[in-house]
């Protein structure tokens, strides 16, 4: 859960070590705090001494994308992925591309593929590749007692998804 004043670690080589969240972009009443995949506005709180040529410095305001979280929301297959820290990478002013050239540590695969393809490709490890509403074919290995029937048809939502907790897959 990322909110204003949350300090996050920086998982790239942009020159920042920690950042503090100032604002969460595209926030809605149904989702008031940020989590993996949220775009934030952050201020840099500490420099990363191990990076020689810094692209960002302490005190600057940038956009960031949360890539790991200690508490990730429930995934569609019913599982969770938790990491040891909450980390973000810095993005440019449009939020389209990352500022840095390398990403440290694993990145959640729950990031929006269309928006953040560059981020997912820079990361060396991504956690839990997705298979959204995919029901696998019945297999021989660990067989079920009986083959489960087809999923019941879900009623189509006519209006907005009020109060529906957005799930990541």
């Amino acid at each position: 859960m990322v909110q204003m004043r949350t300090v996050l670690r920086v998982a790239d080589n942009s020159g920042a070590k920690t950042v503090r969240c100032i604002n969460i972009l595209r926030r809605r009443r149904q989702r008031p705090s940020g989590n993996v995949g949220s775009e934030l506005v952050v201020s840099v709180t500490a420099n990363d001494r191990s990076v020689k040529t810094k692209k960002v410095r302490k005190g600057e305001v940038h956009r960031a994308l949360v890539v790991r979280a200690k508490n990730e929301p429930l995934r569609r297959d019913g599982g969770f992925v938790r990491t040891g820290d909450t980390a973000a990478i810095l993005l440019n002013a449009d939020g389209t591309a990352p500022v840095a050239t390398r990403i440290r540590g694993p990145v959640s695969a729950a990031l929006d593929r269309k928006r953040y393809l560059k981020v997912l490709s820079l990361a060396r490890v991504s956690l839990f590749s997705t298979a959204a509403a995919h029901t696998p074919k019945p297999r021989a290995g660990l067989a079920h007692a009986e083959t489960p029937g087809p999923e019941p048809a879900r009623p189509a939502f006519a209006g907005r998804h009020r109060g529906v907790w957005r799930r990541y897959h």
Binding site: R68, D77, G78, G79, F80, V81, R82, T83, G84, D85, R104, G105, P106, R124, V125, L127, F128, S129, T130, A131, A132, H134, T135, P136, K137, P138, R139, G141, L142, A143, H144, A145, E146, P148, G149
Partner: protein, 122 residues
Amino acid sequence: MDFTVQKKSNIISQIEKNFFKQNIPNINVGDSVKIGLIIQEGNKERTQISDGVIISKNNAHLNTTITVRKVLQNIGVEKVYLIHSPRIISIEVTRKSKVRRAKLYYLRQRSGKATRLKQKFI
């Protein structure tokens, strides 16, 4: 399915028994496991294997979950799996450990050699 007046737990058991997997290996907390998941890339299905140590097991019939912990690039990652999920096609126990706890949450504060678990030979 007979939905005449019954106990709630019996109705739930009747529905759940269709989805139970019968031949899941005996897994305990402390075991090192390799879990095979089905993931979809485009139109193809692929098996992805992830491994780690089971640090907790929560028994709840169909919703039995295990938490598997692994350290990836210096970051501890825990994944919670529902073992009866159709996405999991194989669970292989690679190593059994002798642990004296039901939940190994103390491993989160430890790193490197301090996370070694005594092996149990059966």
